[in-house]
Symmetry: C2
């Protein structure tokens, strides 16, 4: 009669029920970020960040794409995207502000920011 699978649903919620993972997801739903940026955002050691990313990746919530030395992550689960929007508000597509992420690494994104600052 009621065919909700509470096991599956609660397991999916558990993925979000962690402060640092939520923070990562909130950043990634705006635009793809590389690990170095997330490391700066969280202020945690790199292996810690990579572990959370692995967790989210293996849960099917985020996807990775390698670009040179860097790996960019993005949210790739539509259901989780919708949940994040409900929980954290709609993300504003035009203003791609740097939201707390401040690094000076050599990744492609920083390179392009540095170019536009120089111009």
């Amino acid at each position: 009669m009621n065919d909700v699978d509470y096991e599956v649903l609660s397991a999916r919620l558990k993925v979000l029920a962690h402060p640092e993972r939520l923070r990562i997801l909130d950043a990634l739903r705006r635009e793809p970020e590389c690990v170095c940026h997330l490391e700066a955002l969280l202020g945690k050691p790199q292996p810690y960040v990579s572990q959370q990313l692995r967790f989210l990746r293996e849960a099917g919530v985020i996807c990775d794409q390698k670009q040179g030395q860097n790996v960019f992550y993005r949210v790739c689960d539509p259901e989780v995207s919708a949940w994040l929007e409900a929980l954290l508000g709609r993300v504003d597509g035009r203003s791609m502000q740097r939201h707390e992420v401040v690094t000076a690494c050599a990744c492609p994104k920083c390179a392009s920011v540095n170019l536009s600052l120089a111009a």
Copy 2:
């Protein structure tokens, strides 16, 4: 700039991120239930059920009301109600079906059901 408290939000999600608690909440958002019904619904020992109820009560998600020997619980957190609706679908106000809860206890609700069956 972004004043989301990921600690608080993730703590609130953790309350829902548990299969038996989700099942309880799904029952309670339809209508108040007493402990004996929830015990039958979960098929778990009574102290287990009372413990989950205490957890939810202390998290401010459900409220209790004593009626004679029985204690009826209901969801009393509007935000969580809204989340449940998003996660599990809208609950249909008119058809208060007994959804899986089948007991023959002496609580007021069962008494009234038994009365209408006898009539």
